[in-house]
């Protein structure tokens, strides 16, 4: 191709310090097809872009190479610039002289030599570029929110209020999530249920929000603007339309041995149950592992007592398939298992509990009706020890390497509430650091110490030893006083680390959203795009992205909602034109390309082909460019090279290889 322009950026001194930009320009001029080459301080600046545009117009350039920073940084900028000057945006190639050259090499000679080669490769590639036009794809004006905790509810409400339909898929029988299990919230000490339940009701009553509770995501296909999702609605064995929520079935159910998930397993629930009294929807489900009727065929008591005739033992799981334009992941968290931290005796004593269990004990609707008592003997505790950082900030063999962020504050809350309600109870908190960044957070912690007399001791607990008399001997240390402590307690509360809900791994795989080593979903950019997943059309809300408290979760939920609304507000999306393109004349129709296509974008048609005058009907591959995402798997699997990838064609890549190895 004749008419290539090369633009070398100094990037201030970022490139110019270790690359002789003048030499790069000089060498680029010698390349075949290059008719223009220049250098400039900042190509991405307005003046720099103007230079490029002027050169394109004046020298009638057919393709340009910008030697600058990474294409991940400014490829879009220069493509726009080219387009404005009348050049197809895909006639632009970037030589990465900054991140992959000047910044890693110190020697100017070495840097310049490499820069010249990188420029050469980009020139060789651009000379084989072809003009590409992005396609258009439609946007389904409906959002899916996975997870019905506070993050999911808030995201759904914000999207629905902006005028778009939203479905919430929640795996448990009710929305509400972990926040519904909490008694009070820091730092205001208002009642969790009092602020959450109105939101739950709002979500349920909202005309644009549809709840799929007791449901899970089964399959996801498609792409931004046009996802197709299979949702498995698990059999409830209760007809949602008929049930009035009277609750007689739960009262009468003879099988009451199952542990209540909502009360952290501290008491029992019937086989037919709603997780808690304010559950939404207020329709019970039958736990098939517990129900005598479903297990043995005998019983049927709930059916007999149900006035509404809502019980249906024959119900089966149902798959509903829906289309969405955007998906928000709000799968929340779980408390880690404490198997690797046996020294705290969690499995040995009923009186060693996690903070979430304490939350249920302190709650009026909890297993002890809100009375602070020991689970072993029901006695009121006199000495309570709180242990911080249980499984957080640990080596990976023991727990999680991250700070769970919320424990310092909720422990202060617990300590304060106990001292407030039971002033004669001694409360000791063993801490490593007290971390209270947040509005009114440190003030809150100081009140626990100064007003409520909570005893904060700096030092981790070494061991909790259950004693024959039922007490717990806590081996601790006061590092500031330099004293080893042995405290006899009758209740120990562990601030166990949080971890992303285990279900998120499977969901991330289905969404092709990336996940980090701790199973937190990765954001598109840690600072600038914190609520978007790198996968277009997938957004993140709440703890699934990283530990956070309620106010942060709610703000992130709102931010995710805005991003979703911004996407759904568009009627069409431009699609990436770098898609696979088959050459019908060469195609064998063998089917191997469709086998490796992750998007189902390839199908086969019998077409009349005119192969150099010979007309015959042949089975050939056809690519749906709206579905194709341009990975190139098909191009390699195709033995004849029928499939090629636009923008990264075989010849383009080979030209780069040749230029580099020249």
């Amino acid at each position: 191709m004749h008419g290539i322009g090369v633009f070398v950026c100094h990037c201030g001194s970022n490139i110019a310090a270790t690359v002789d930009v003048k030499k790069v320009v000089e060498m680029a001029r010698l390349e075949p097809g290059v008719v223009h080459a220049e250098e400039y301080q900042y190509m991405c600046s307005e003046a720099g872009q103007e230079r490029i545009a002027t050169a394109i117009r004046e020298k009638n350039l057919k393709g340009i190479v910008v030697c600058s920073c990474s294409p991940r940084m400014h490829e879009a900028t220069f493509r726009k610039c080219a387009e404005k000057a009348g050049l197809n945006p895909y006639m632009v190639e970037i030589a990465n002289l900054r991140e992959q050259c000047s910044w890693i090499h110190k020697d100017i000679e070495e840097g310049t030599e490499k820069a010249v080669i990188l420029a050469r490769a980009a020139i060789a590639k651009v000379s084989l570029n072809t003009s590409l036009l992005p396609g258009e794809s439609r946007v389904t004006k409906r959002a899916l929110v996975i997870g019905g905790g506070i993050a999911g509810i808030q995201t759904a409400l914000d999207i629905a209020d902006a005028g778009y339909e939203v479905d919430i898929v929640e795996k448990t029988p009710s929305i509400g999530g972990k926040m519904a299990q909490l008694d009070k919230t820091f730092p205001t000490l208002d009642c969790s249920a009092c602020i959450l339940t109105p939101k739950m009701v709002d979500a349920a009553a909202h005309e644009r929000i549809n709840l799929y509770t007791y449901s899970e995501i089964e399959k996801v296909s498609g792409f931004v603007g046009d996802f197709t999702v299979d949702i498995r609605k698990k059999a409830r064995y209760v007809n949602m339309d008929k049930c009035t929520g009277c609750g007689v079935c739960m009262e009468k159910c003879p099988s009451k041995k199952a542990l209540s998930e909502f009360n952290s397993g501290l008491n029992n629930r019937p086989a037919i149950y709603t997780p808690f009294a304010q559950a939404i929807p207020n329709v019970p489900v039958i736990d098939p592992t517990q129900c005598t009727k479903l297990k043995t065929g005998k019983c049927g008591i709930c059916e007999r007592f149900c006035q509404a005739g809502a019980i249906d033992y024959t119900q089966k799981d149902e798959i509903v398939t829906r289309k969405y334009g955007a998906i928000v992941v709000a799968t929340g968290f779980e408390i880690i298992k404490l198997d690797n931290l046996e020294e705290y005796a969690y499995s040995q004593s009923k009186d060693v509990i996690t903070s979430l269990e304490l939350e249920r004990i302190m709650n009026a609707a909890g297993p002890t009706k809100g009375h602070l008592e020991r689970l072993s003997d029901g006695k009121a505790p006199k000495n309570i020890v709180f242990v911080q950082c249980v499984g957080s900030r640990c080596d990976e063999s023991k727990g999680k390497p991250y700070c769970s962020k919320i424990c310092c504050m909720y422990t202060a809350k617990h300590a304060m509430l106990i001292r407030d309600k039971y002033p004669d109870v001694n409360v000791t908190v063993f801490y490593i650091d007290v971390r209270t960044p947040g509005k009114n957070f440190d003030e809150f912690y100081r009140r626990a110490v100064e007003e409520y007399g909570v005893n904060y001791v700096k030092g981790q607990v070494g061991k909790v030893a259950p004693q024959p008399d039922g007490s717990l001997l806590v081996h601790g240390v006061d590092l500031l006083d330099g004293k080893q402590l042995k405290i006899s307690a009758d209740m120990v509360v562990l601030a166990a680390a949080v971890e992303p809900s285990p279900s998120v791994r499977k969901i991330a795989t289905m969404l092709t959203a990336s996940i980090d080593t701790n199973n937190f979903l990765t954001e598109a950019h840690p600072k600038l795009r914190p609520v978007e997943s790198p996968t277009a059309g997938v957004f993140l809300s709440g703890i699934c992205q990283g530990p956070k408290d309620i106010p942060e979760t709610v703000s992130q939920a709102g931010a995710a909602a805005v991003k979703v609304v911004g996407l759904l507000a568009k009627d069409k999306l431009l699609t990436n034109p770098c898609t696979a393109k088959p050459d019908e004349l060469m195609c064998n129709g063998c089917g191997s390309c469709a086998n490796v296509c992750p998007y189902g974008a390839i199908s086969y048609e019998v077409k009349e082909i005119n192969d150099h005058g010979i007309r015959e009907n042949r089975r050939v591959a056809v690519v749906n460019s709206a579905l194709c995402q341009g990975c190139g798997a098909c191009t390699v699997t195709c033995p004849s090279g029928t499939m090629d990838l636009q923008g990264f064609s075989n010849r383009q890549i080979l030209a780069e290889v040749d230029a580099i190895c020249r």
Binding site: D583, N588, C590, G591, N595, P639
Partner: protein, 314 residues
Amino acid sequence: MKELLQDGTVNRVLGWKKGDLPYNPEPAFFKSAEELDEFIYDGFCGANLSKYMIAASALEGKTLVLLKPCDSYSFVQLMKEHRVDREKAYIIGVGCKGKLDIERIKAEGVKGIESISGAEIDGDCSTLKIGTIYGEKEVAYKDAMLERCHVCKGKEHRIYDELMLESADTLDSGRFEAVEAIENMTPEQKFAFFKNELSKCIRCNACRNVCPACSCRKCVFDSTKFDSAQKANVDEFEEKMFHIIRAFHVAGRCTDCGECSRVCPQGIPLHLFNRKFIKDINEYYGEYQAGNNVEDETPLTDFTFDDLEPGERR
């Protein structure tokens, strides 16, 4: 066969025709009962006819095709790749008692061959009596067999409409012995071995033309898509890489029919490439025989989450 041709069940027969020498029958289409007089099926009919069925599938009516047990794998593989039309084929599965390699006979020092008997398919196939200008010579049938017959996949047809003729077991050595022997060489020895073999290649493309898996309408080496066309004579790239890429393209699809080695005029043991891939696939991803059936996922268009990493060994 004649009846099927005459009553119109099939429009033509795809079989082997007598050659001009006692040992070189060639694949042929027979369109009439008269033409069938020239038909032959004996120990020298090594050619795998399944690839011709690609062209025959585009013709009017059915084609009667004779497939040996090992050829039937190729036919199934081609069916799997939608290259042949099962409806257009009337398959007679013919028995096989091992196919002969004239080069081996010549290697026994037999020269000036005028006639060969003992290669008939209905005989016991134990001894070849060879009439030469120097008198009659005898060669054991077994010693004259193609390499591929010594590592035979078995005498069962994967697909047929009708079976004919008896088979005899010919398997008497390990399929991967030669591959293992090379694997156990030092890098220098390996290199020397392949350098010696590949240096003989004249790029006649016989291997490509005969291979049932190399059935692309247009080979990448003839295509403009990789900048590799029309350079066969000037750019040594193709010549060096041809065999590696060819083996890679048929990896997971090659049924190990052995035709490539049989037709190579330079006697390059080309099956050693294909068989290395087959061995690796078996070891890394589980036993796999291409052409066994149409359902199995081809190894290279499949994966498991815990596949080996490159260079890792199980």
